[in-house]
Amino acid sequence: MEKRSRIGKVTMKVGKSRLPVLCVVLALMIAALLLVHSLGAAEQKADQPKTLKIGALVCLTGWFSSYDIQTGQNEPQLVVDTVNERGGLNIKGQKYKIELVSEDCKSSLDGVTAAATSLASKGIKFTIGPAAFFGRASAPITTRNKILDALGYNVLTPDEIGPNVPYTFAGFGGAAAEFLSGVNFVKAKFPNVKKLCMVAPAGASNKYLLAFQREQLAAKGYEIVGDYVVYPDDTSDWSPFAAKINAIKEADAVMWPNAIAFHVAGMVKSLREIGYDKWVFESSNVPAQDIVKLITKDSARKVTTGCFMPDSKSNPPELQALIRKSQAKYGPDIPLSMATATATAVLLDMIERAQSIDSTEVKKKWESMDGQTIKTLFGPGIISGTKTYNIKGHGLGNPVPHQIINEKGEVSEGGFFPSGPIP
């Protein structure tokens, strides 16, 4: 009601004119509060780590599972746990915790195809594994879906790593690095050996790998005697193959670049039983202690392997830390490899270097580092392999540790030997 007194009118006018101002001020205050709140929420969200899923293609069932459960899943999980304990990956200020998502490859190429397809359907953009020759089944699928795959082990076929599958990288030296390191080791420790009988599992006897081995051995002055003795990967009776090796009399020793513990134990036992007493140089990551455990010192004699001693002072600190973690979590008797664990560590390192979770960006970063040295669990690794894989920056050369089982069946350290860059 309008007051007629002067004071009242003035009062009324002042009251009326203040109301809009008050409303405006109030509105501004509410807006400011809302703005501050939303900024605070954004900041809070930025502090909360996101999850980055890494797929693991691993043989959880079937004949390869005895090797792959530990190597392809358990050991990479330890790497993931270590990274997460440190706060995860830091990508452009955003923290990412890593989650490992395993898919069973069922120890078959069909199983690998199904597992890779499953991971792709879940939207996963980074994977590790599978090991050995299984990679050729996953590479077409990961490439088609632009999933960057870091192999823990590869056997040099262009189906695994090559220009047709540009999203697959060697996260571990694999057959090439182990072989080159093995040759350097034999040359240093056994200089009198010149002629070799070569042994290979069927899964690692493809023409590319054998050609690579022949070329490198010839370059280092070695002669291969007779044909390669090739055995099926799931062999249980080794006696026919031991007989074949024994028949190659001119060889000074056996060179066996790729195997798993069961292979080496079975073959060496059969060889010793038929009186074959020459050295067996095996250069892939087979723990020598497991060979002695399986076939006892009676048979486990004069063998070398490409594996580390768990308590060695020569082990790089990161490797030793993972060894201790594995022994604490899974027990001291579980055989250790750290091949796919190395691939996991290298993959996560590359993601952080690229400062991106886009697989194509990480791919570009990785390829741009051709010729450069990076840190691996086994020491400094060199991104290389242009000639071997016909694609730049997809291979990796890394040092490989070696063990020696002497004439009495005693295991000792052979030392870390570099592979050098993969040609």
Partner: protein, 285 residues
Amino acid sequence: MELIVGTVTNMLISSSMFILVALGLAFIFNMMGILNLAHGTIYMIGGYVTYAFAVWVGLNSWAALLVSTAIFALFGVFLEKFCFRPFVGNFDAAVLVCVGITVVLQNIVNNMLGTQVMAVPHFIRGIFRAGLVSVSYERMLTFAIGGVLTAVIILFVRETALGQRMQAITQNREAALLQGINVNRLQSLACAIGCALAAVAGSLMGAYTNLSPFMGDDMLATILMLVILAGAGSTGGIVIVGAILGSMNAILPVLLTGDYAQAIYVVIVVIILLFRPEGFFGHEA
């Protein structure tokens, strides 16, 4: 020359093991008409049980073998009564039961022990050497035990009253029933013998090679081929075909490389079956 000597030795060992395991499978198949697809798994688990008693319990390897054999003989009785007898005449259901047993047992062993390297401790140590011949005593023992058990089983089936009754059941189950033969009891006995033989073979091979949750798969494929090639009801046929397949298993990897040997092996078996679908010694349909 050494290669020939080594190959002949391998032929004898392979043949004796194939025959031993196949006899067990044949017993069950002939008596009940059930193809025990879990037989390879029993062979595998037999090795692991022997390992467990020898290493974890601390028994002598021989004692562990005897205990394992007894356990699997009893397991055979259990299998017959609860897993096979209800499905006699129902092939599909019996196959499913066998596959189920295989998957469960294999995965239990794989999950519990799959990542650990294991072998049954030696039954006997040392190597016999004479000229070109160099053979471990363990391999000789494997062959000897396999041979002796095979001979005992064949004699049992052919010469004993129980064996004669088992043959009667194999030839005509209904007629055997009418004759007053206790078919169920004899079926239990057949299963017990079959599973015990598989366990013995698995234990011997677990010392000769290594233990693996999947070591039974290859053995099952081989003995299925063996039993089918030998023909239904023919124990003697199993011995002869076992010797043939054991010889192929020893010779082909020496002549051929890698997986080709396995492929040729299967092709030869298929060709034989094309010409003789009832097997070498089976009865014409």
